[in-house]
Assembly symmetry: C2
Homo-oligomer: 379 residues x 2
């Protein structure tokens, strides 16, 4: 039996779609970009700025939160929304991906992943059942099944083994979620690396289990963009059209636009904040590296037509100075500028799909990026 | 001849006073606490938050700014206010104090201080004339004379030599400032360490030169609070009553309250932001160390009666988690909480002086601090 559907498709334009996902903490307009608040906080941003930038939903990392402050403590304090003050929808990952990429001394077997906590050195076990328990304690609106993700390139046998394990863990995750209160959601994850037949098999198997929504995992892990897009195209026909589709850990604005064009609805990525901390702005003119000396004497803003005050009003010379001086304010400003750009892009995409002008928007946005930054200021 | 007076005394209550200082970029209500935006930025705060917290004026550091991005570049970009986006009054120090405390290979002689730039290793000379030139290029509303400050405890001979040099440098600073546009101000600095006669001599000599306002420097540099307050009491009778009085680099809320009670009008200190970065909050209940485990499960805010949203709404448990996790948001929240507390204290002090209830306010505020934090939550 399929779980209840909380997704409503409003319009489609080609393969691109726009809709509304209703969660216990509010409605998420799709396509949606989810800023990543790893350990219960966005790096360099207040929650009010995340909200003002236009984000409906944010992502929290189960791995970090289960170790500190712990899921039990957050539950006692009323859940992630109450704990953090972000009073909107939250999606949490299963913790599996980050155990495998971050933790020491990890050991994967059929039952669970065992690893050593980087906080106190304790041995911690994360099973699909425990992952769902943790996510429910956190109060996530959308929980993710536990899966195993393989970095590419990888041997087919390794990809297949992880994909099959993910299906079994998906089944166990679903069972563990059965007693969750109505309205809360669990998404399945399609794995299979860059192998078309494995992607097909994973998609069929995951849909057979039955989830509130479906994610594509194991992409943007080292493969070229063309491979990522080809895998999306292979998976989507196997997913039910009435359920939300989430592309995990992706990506650049261009990745998002291409994935939306192929029918994806949700995204998350640390890129806007991480690149912001490294002095890079995402704008209508493409990516701009503020460390570059060409900005040192330039009083112009990043984009004088932007609706976001910091993008429209902050001098490039000031951003350059802040970045070169290692001032926190540089990371803060570029993080909000980047998150605002991602959210603005999602809003414009939604509007274009509603109006049936997605293709025109797609062409114009790509050509804006390709034209690149405004000419340096002549002195 | 005395320079023009831009300070207007509105009310006094005992020795405490409240007034208005009119600068080219706006009016400063005194007593005033000036948050420190060292290199053209507040650490962990947007300028809009500094403004919202109630600050009328901020301080910039000449030493940092002259090295990067350089005073000439800031002048070309329209001055500090335009460059940073802080569109209010700014005071800059002379750079001398920080050359002496931060720079390598410094050499002091009658003419100037010479030091090596920490940015590119270049040899840089800072004379009183150059300090004033830099501060005028920056567009400071209030420039400071160049002086030499001695850390305490120190030998009387060293204190006296530095005090006499400061008087000669004050004279040269004043001459260099003579061509400044009307409305801009230069403050003299009283030195003399913890030696009463030297403080008297310095105050008389500085007032003889004639400045728009007078600062007391060389305090909060290692001496007990009682010595600092005694020195203030010794200096103030020698300062003209109609000019603003600025206590440099001070201090805790208690230091401010005691100095205001003795007749001081202006303050600056990195303490609220620096302590905030280290997990300490300044509140009505005194200083609170959020690292303390007693806050880990406490859903209560720092002060439920505060007018500042972050102080009234953020759970102690969340702040504890952010501080323990090294999340930037912890430093950001505690910095704004602390700056807001300092500004609120100044506003309440101004109101109390206006109403003639300063002494009552002083007693109540001290007893609030002495009572300390609310009791830990029973579990």
């Amino acid at each position: 039996m399929s779980p209840a559907n909380h997704f409503e498709l409003t319009a489609t334009d080609g393969h691109a779609r726009t809709g509304k996902l209703t969660t216990p903490h509010g409605v998420v307009r799709t396509p949606a970009f989810m800023p990543v608040g790893t350990a219960g906080a966005m790096k360099g941003m207040h929650w009010r700025e995340v909200r003002d930038a236009g984000a409906d939903i944010v992502l929290g990392n189960t791995y970090h939160l289960m170790l500190r402050p712990t899921a039990e403590r957050i539950a006692t304090l009323g859940g992630l929304q109450k704990f953090t003050g972000w009073n909107g929808p939250m999606l949490t990952d299963s913790g599996g991906f980050q155990v495998m990429s971050l933790a020491d001394l990890r050991k994967v077997n059929e039952k669970a992943v065992t690893f050593r906590s980087h906080i106190d050195g304790a041995s911690v076990e994360l099973s699909p059942e425990r992952s769902i328990e943790v996510q429910r304690l956190l109060g996530s609106d959308i929980a993710m099944q536990m899966d195993e993700c393989v970095r590419l390139p990888a041997e087919r046998a390794d990809i297949e083994r992880a994909m099959q394990l993910s299906l079994r863990w998906g089944e166990r995750s679903r069972r563990a979620f059965e007693t969750a209160p109505s309205g809360y959601m669990l998404f399945g994850i399609v794995q299979g690396g860059d192998v078309v037949e494995l992607r097909h098999a994973s998609a069929r198997g995951t849909v057979d289990i039955g989830f509130h929504g479906y994610a594509i995992g194991g992409l943007a892990v080292g493969e070229p963009q063309a491979v990522m897009l080809a895998m999306i195209e292979e998976v989507i026909p196997h997913l039910p059209g009435d359920r939300p589709r989430y592309l995990m850990g992706v990506g650049t604005p261009e990745d998002l636009l291409e994935a939306i064009r192929r029918g994806m609805d949700m995204f998350d990525c640390v890129m806007p904040t991480r690149n912001g901390r490294h002095g890079v702005a995402f704008t209508r003119h493409g990516q701009i590296n503020l460390r570059n000396a060409r900005h040192a004497d330039d009083p112009r803003p990043l984009d004088e037509e932007s609706e976001w005050p910091a993008t429209r009003e902050t001098a490039r010379a000031y951003l350059h100075h802040l970045v070169k001086s290692g001032e926190t304010l540089g990371a803060m400003l570029l993080s909000e500028i980047n998150i605002a750009y991602y959210q603005r892009l999602m809003r414009d995409v939604r509007d274009a799909i509603l109006r049936g002008t997605f293709d025109e928007f797609y062409q114009r946005t790509r050509s804006d990026w390709e034209r690149g930054d405004i000419a340096p200021r002549s002195t």
